[in-house]
């Protein structure tokens, strides 16, 4: 026999083909179900490794966003406290200007002095503002920053420290969260409490009222300038929020590029694999079921 004999059993070949098709189909089905083409590292080792980094980056951005959410409240609370301080100081200045008028009687001035004392305690309470149990102007100390102290020249003692906290709101981007109370309220030559104390004293003694008013107005200007930090921080945070949202979108796109399944392609692949499976099954069914034996009588 010179012709090449063929393997009379094609079944194992067909079974292998069928097995491979079924594997491909289950992969495609999983891709469609999860709409991800990386369902285990071996699906795309480099892509899976990249996804570890992308996921980490994504949770980092989430954490920046969460941080921004929590410091936003703190910053605006501090800003509004300082805005009240500024308003109160304005009132003190106009009271001072009123008291400097020589036509006032002693009792008029003592009435003004008593209102100024009210302003003094209002300022202390504003300087002790807290947000969710955290004093906003204590530096990094956890103690109440300002307490009334008759021994102190200004009548108020600072018990916080000179520290400040910064919070990371982006890759290598830190925003300062607070200014220590001593810097805001006890500026050299611009001490808010000293200025008010001096104004009260001058009002009681009816001497040097104008000088004391100037002192208060200097303190007023100083506090206003300190307040800028909070305004700036809030602006930074707001623009960073926009940036982070964009970054998150970009990251989502990268994630999709790396691991997203191309559902249209996968679906058409699945369809052609199903066709191939059916064809193979049909071929198996049509394997000769008869042999020459059937035709012999």
């Amino acid at each position: 026999m010179s012709s090449i004999r063929v393997n009379p059993y094609p079944l194992p070949d067909l079974l292998l083909a069928l097995e491979n098709l079924q594997k491909q189909q289950s992969t495609a089905t999983l891709e469609l179900a999860t709409s991800s083409k990386i369902n285990q590292p071996s699906d795309d080792p480099a892509g899976a490794a990249r996804m570890v980094q992308v996921d980490d980056k994504s949770s980092e951005i989430d954490s920046y966003q969460t941080s921004i959410g929590s410091i936003n409240g703190q910053l605006s609370m501090a800003d509004s406290a300082l805005s009240s301080v500024v308003t109160v100081l304005q009132r003190a200045i106009s009271l001072g200007v009123e008291g400097a008028n020589g036509t006032l009687s002693d009792s008029d001035r003592s009435a003004i002095a008593s209102e100024l004392r009210g302003i003094q305690s209002q300022l202390v309470s504003l300087a002790n503002t807290s947000y969710q149990g955290q004093y906003l102007f204590a530096g990094t100390a956890a103690t109440q920053p300002f307490v009334a102290d008759s021994q102190a020249p200004s009548g108020v003692q600072y018990q916080g420290n000179g520290g400040a906290n910064s919070v990371t709101i982006g890759e290598g981007y830190r925003v300062q969260l607070n200014q220590p109370g001593s810097q805001i309220f006890n500026g050299t030559g611009n001490d808010v409490f000293q200025a008010i104390q001096d104004l009260i004293t001058s009002m009681n003694s009816n001497s040097g009222i104008s000088a004391a008013v100037t002192e208060v107005s200097n303190a007023y200007n100083y506090v206003t300038s300190q307040r800028a930090l909070y305004g700036n921080a809030m602006n930074q945070v707001t623009s960073q929020q926009t940036l982070l949202s964009t970054e998150k979108v970009n990251l989502g796109q990268e994630e999709n590029t790396v691991s997203g399944a191309d559902t249209a392609t996968v679906a058409s692949q699945l369809a052609s694999e199903q066709t191939a499976t059916n064809a193979t099954l049909e071929a198996m069914a049509k394997l000769p079921q008869t042999s020459l034996f059937d035709y012999l009588r």
Binding site: R5, N7, Q40, P45, A46, A48, Q53, T66, T140, A141
Partner: protein, 465 residues
Amino acid sequence: MSNLLASLSVAVGALGAEQGALDATTNNVANVNTPGYSRQQPILAESEPVVIGNITYGTGVTLEKLQSLRDPILQLRIGEETQQQGQLNALVSGMQQVQVQFTSSSGDIGAEISNFFTSLAQLSTDPGNLSLRQGVLTAGQNMATSFNNVANNLTAQQSNLNLEVVQDVQQINVLTGQIAGLNQQISQMEGVNQDASALVDQRDVLIGQLSGLIDVSTIQSDNGVTLTTSNGVPLVVGGQSFALSTQTDASGMEEISSEGSDITSQINSGDLAGVIEVRDDKIPTILTSLDTLAANLETNLNAANATGFTLVQQSDGTLEQGGNLFVTPPASGRGAASTMALAISDASLIAASSDPTGSDSNGNLAVLSAVHDQAIANGQTPTDYYSNIVFGVGNDVSNGSAQLSASQLILNQLQDQRGAISGVSLDEEAANMVSYQRAFDAAAQMVTTINDLLYTVISMGTLTG
């Protein structure tokens, strides 16, 4: 001329030969589904002619033998490819199990590392907040647990593979014993010129099974086949088999030895080679990487915590310096992943502050968070280092699977070729059956005719007598 009785013997001889040929066909048809069966072909030859006077008379047909059709070289190739496939199969299925540990999920190591650093970031917005501090401890505990789980699961898988080694060796010993027995029977039969093809087929099947387990070199020799590993470790020599044995080494791993020498690292293919590769190479490498990552995370985070201050106030009113956040990893790093754990359970001991007077300071959290971006192992950040481990595992599975598919195709082609040579075709057998039957019928007719002729001759005697 020749005599009628001689013709009768030619016809009777033909009946025998055709019946023998028909036997081969029957046997082929009967074994159509027997694995490893090689079809038999009757070898018919002319009988020695006789010369009477100057005429040469044929003396009919002889059935010389029934030959089994097989290609020993092809059989060797099938064996080699089976070994390759056995190894790849074990490697891929082992690494697929490993891969499960590194498949991205909410609790995997990568996610838990991210979560830990997220918890630090959250604490930095309100460093005195005890529930946020507790959040850091919980995230630290989860990170440690994820390392523990993966390391323990890998170690458990190693022990399972260890059992598989023992089972493989037992199976190998059974097979080599059977092959040695067959070798003996075959050489005995062939010694007295008997056809041992049925036993040879059986032996081929057993060698095929053995090839799935270990690398086998086959050498045909006078006393049957000699089987060794590719490194020359004897498995079967003639009628004798050499059993492999296992003993537990210091680290609890089963080592394989033959005739007293350790051959564990010398097994190059078959299931055993794949199992040993995953047990002794792949898993230990991954465990070492995890240990390195865990140990460096612990060491760096501890160092960072020690530069800051806790919430605990000392007698002079200042805050206490931070201590270890995680337990100190073993000096060698070995086992760091499986033993990773928090060193503290009191959340106030997290050294968030960088100021001994500032319990609301978050300055040191920046130092702790910086570990996230530090090159702590192999010049890589924790996440990058981990992503490399994931890459390695995925790559092993994907390369192994590709090789396995290729090997499967090759093996199938070889089996096709084997089938083309040795497989039974029912059509062919039917055609053979018809021709042998016709020949048998014809020979039988010849006997009848010669019988008639003989009767005629005998009657001639009666008439004259």
